[in-house]
Amino acid sequence: MRWVQDLGATALRFVDDLGRFGLFTAQLVRALVLPPPRVRAFVDELYKLGVLSFVIITVCGLAVGMVLGLQGYNTLARFGATNSLGAVVGLSLLRELGPVLTALLATGRAGSATTAEIGTMVATEQLDGLRMMSIDPVHFVAMPRAAAMVAVMPLLAALFTTMGIFGGYLIGVGLMGLDGGAYLSSLESSVDFRDDVLGSFVKALVFGALTGLIATYRGYTSAPTSAGVSAATTSTVVVGSVTILLVDYVITALWGV
């Protein structure tokens, strides 16, 4: 019956880890309100997490929008409702695909970069060095990165969604010959600010916070070896992605009320 024991041990380790994650989050939130405000570091992180993700987000947004345009058109054509393509593309992107796909892409690109950076700092004793200089590593290293991730996510999601709508337009109007005005007006008339757009931003903010916290936590707790850093980076992507998808369900269910 070894497997029962192992399962129990794994469950306990999971709860343990979750607890430590909670404590880390509390430390990070506390660090947010403590001086000094690390503006320079925050702006640097905006660059690393936001600007460097710009290309991948816009290109993927365009691609997803175009796919939605194609698939949407094919399905709607069966019901003679192709004029609603704008609504289909827009709503799909705003409610789900925009924030979720952006968060997944950001976790993969920016999240793993952050974890690797912090993990390497652990391995080279830089965090211990900071502690010995009476500088809190959570405040100095983790806080600006997590804060930047939260700030960047809604912006990236908005860019993704906008490029997606444009992609749908390219396919629907450019390729399939729909009326541009019909596309845009069905989009505008079926999207409600509170339900759809606001929900989109809220999701992006929550995902940004999750990704920021998970990426910095994993880097912070990584084993001080190159294998450890690699494992931590993988964990960020895996755990981050699963968490995003699960939390997505929760938000969708609650917000839709």
Binding site: Y47, N83, L94, V152, A158, V191, V197
Partner: protein, 159 residues
């Protein structure tokens, strides 16, 4: 502290683009901003609006001139709809508003058929002539019912 002016510039550009995208989605797509500036409002009462939603387009001769702002019930439980219209539109007081469907299964929108009266509607006035929405199910139901009645009648004649 290491200064990096190029980085800061790129971050600024990124923030601008991101905020612009958010603004576009909020206002153009989501309709956060109110009606067009200088636009005016008219009302119309219908027996049945059949799935008309706020922000549905208001159309004259196929061109969008405004959108549905709010939908409510009046004292006699008929549907009272408020339209936001562009300032350049002048509607005669005998204009008819009908609720039509875009395609067979499409969204509902409001079509305005202009009348001939020289007097035009002012801000906040009501349209007199309205045509309610046609509900597909009732049409089919009526058809089926009529067919049944015919058959019944024929059956009686034979007997």
């Amino acid at each position: 502290m290491t200064r990096a002016p190029l980085r800061d510039f790129l971050v600024g550009c990124f923030l601008l683009l991101g905020i612009a995208a958010m603004a576009y989605l909020s206002m153009r797509v989501g309709g956060l901003a109110g009606g067009p500036p200088g636009g005016f409002t008219v009302f119309a009462t219908f027996d049945e609006i059949g799935g008309l939603k706020p922000r549905a387009p208001v159309v004259v001769s196929g061109v969008k001139v405004g959108q549905v702002k709010t939908i409510g019930l009046d004292k006699t439980y008929r549907a009272r709809v408020e339209f936001d219209l562009m300032p350049t539109v002048a509607l005669p007081v005998d204009t008819t508003a009908s609720i039509v469907t875009s395609g067979v299964l499409g969204d509902r929108y409001v079509q305005l058929q202009l009348g001939g009266d020289p007097e035009t509607l002012k801000n906040g006035e009501d349209l007199t002539f309205t045509e309610s929405a046609v509900i597909l199910e009732r049409l089919i139901g009526k058809f089926v019912h009529n067919v049944g009645v015919d058959k019944g009648a024929k059956g009686e004649e034979k007997d």
